[in-house]
Point group: C2
Chain length 359, copies 2
Amino acid sequence: MDILQKLKQLGEKIYNEFLKNGDPRIEFLTRGNIKTVEYDEEKDIIKLKEKQSVRRFFDVGETRRFTQTLLVAALAKELVESNKHASLREVYYQLKHTIPYINENTFDEQSESDSVIEDLERALRAIREQFGIVADRKGYLYGDITLKDRNRGDEWNCSKLGLGGWGIPSTIEEIDIVDVNADYVLVVEKDAMFERLIEERFPEKNRALLIATKGQPSRGTRRLIRKLRYEVGLPVYVFTDGDPWGFYIYSVIKRGSMNLAMFSEQLATPDAKFIGLTIDDVIKYDLKDVAIQLKPIDVKRVKELMEYPWFKNKEWQRQFNKMLKLNIKAEQDALAKHSLEFVANKYLPEKIEKGEFLP
Amino acid sequence: MDILQKLKQLGEKIYNEFLKNGDPRIEFLTRGNIKTVEYDEEKDIIKLKEKQSVRRFFDVGETRRFTQTLLVAALAKELVESNKHASLREVYYQLKHTIPYINENTFDEQSESDSVIEDLERALRAIREQFGIVADRKGYLYGDITLKDRNRGDEWNCSKLGLGGWGIPSTIEEIDIVDVNADYVLVVEKDAMFERLIEERFPEKNRALLIATKGQPSRGTRRLIRKLRYEVGLPVYVFTDGDPWGFYIYSVIKRGSMNLAMFSEQLATPDAKFIGLTIDDVIKYDLKDVAIQLKPIDVKRVKELMEYPWFKNKEWQRQFNKMLKLNIKAEQDALAKHSLEFVANKYLPEKIEKGEFLP
């Protein structure tokens, strides 16, 4: 069922319930958190346990939220019909007004509308990009890939944009992949590493597509990575810092996040592989003197990661234990210790050739 | 004198002083801060008062720093000669090592190398981009402009990249402007507004180039704005939130920042104009109900801005006073209150047609 139908169906259902018995309800999937999600080992993603909750208009504690959900749903329908997008912030400003007579605001803070938008996602079982609401953008793409924007008709190749690369927009739902000349996708955490690799002509020499996430990837970037894996069939290697935050960036790309667990199958790339930086690399590539001592917050985070079911395998536990034992972390930029070319000419080709990945 | 000559001259000077009297020195311009900068009213930029300080190798408090400066200068020479770039973080990792016998680290923290890089800028009177050291990237460009990367030979037009636009890299020193079909440059603070305007086809309908800064602009973005103003001759309009932080983004684009005051003439765009959001706009466009109450930190910041000599003119003081009196600020996204198209179809064209800018 397409998203417009889903939205209409929701409206009709509520309208009919009003007419029938005056007791309209909206059914939602439960919000994802450590208790409501589970690790699907076979699919290798984080999933939401199938649990529904109900919101009733005539529950006085829920009336406000119920009304807000309808306001957002109505705007979503407009956006889909007009083929437009609105940012979370624009949605807030579009819908914020004072209701006459009762003199109450529809929304007081943006956090309210943000969270209602999430409700609507969980009611429609559709990501907000499908109904035209988008979050901030982040991330860049570089390499020999030709893309087309279905709405605008633009077509371009991402290997002829200098060091700049293509700015990945907040939604890539309208982007078609026209042509790709590449053997794999390399996702890197930092934009400086992205520029380093372009400067070293790594994508051309290795037939690689490069994606910079700039920290935790935006939803648009995650969707793009997934598309390249499952629509084009390219292997995906993720290259982050060798610290718990870098490891978790990998985890989110690969298996999804807890609060978006319902959408792992739309956002995650389960067979992405981790190319580094591992703690083994720190030893192997003689980076111990440029490694950084763990702070208490790092130690705490490592211990949390160790408990996540999807990090329970031997290889990852080995890295975590080694990290704690040596009491170090290391950044991907630390490879510059050897030379600026080292990562492009030795580290990456060596690991790819030997298939030295973590699962 | 080109940057390679400057670097060689610095090296030769120190070498000769070693031979002559064993007392090598490096002369620096003083660091920019509220005491060492002045407002050049005629040029409308923030400038550094011409003051030098000297660092001596045989001053025991300065030996470490002196040596560090030479290490960075040597790497800078390599970068220039090989036509490469290194990030601040890469420089740190490249140069970090333990000196044999005395068992001392060249650098302990990245903050040390960052600050030595600034020293070198102030010693050579050259921005670090000229000697190949770059900071993080940020910002996007969209519109009918054809660019060429001199190093790589790539040539591309920035109006055929979908909503994505071109990712402005950390340095634009190698970028040539081949062709422009536009009447002005519109710089916007937020990437959601950037996407909004592209979606509304504002650039095409108004012959505008769009730049998103994503908050305070990166140095690469500031250089690009300046280039479009003074190499191409396009007027520059800056569109930020109507709050002290947005006003200061404008100030940095237009007049430079205090700590980089020495480089205002390379980084700033003195005749940029402010297109909004002003506090007058909040009234005129009926945005009071979507405005936000000032927090104590906003009030403090407004009062600071009011004291900066370059904000002392009547028009700006009027905005500041009105902001304090009404006790409100407003975001550029608030214009979505009227409709998603409002900013593209009414607000911007109206202000541009009437020339309603702040200086």
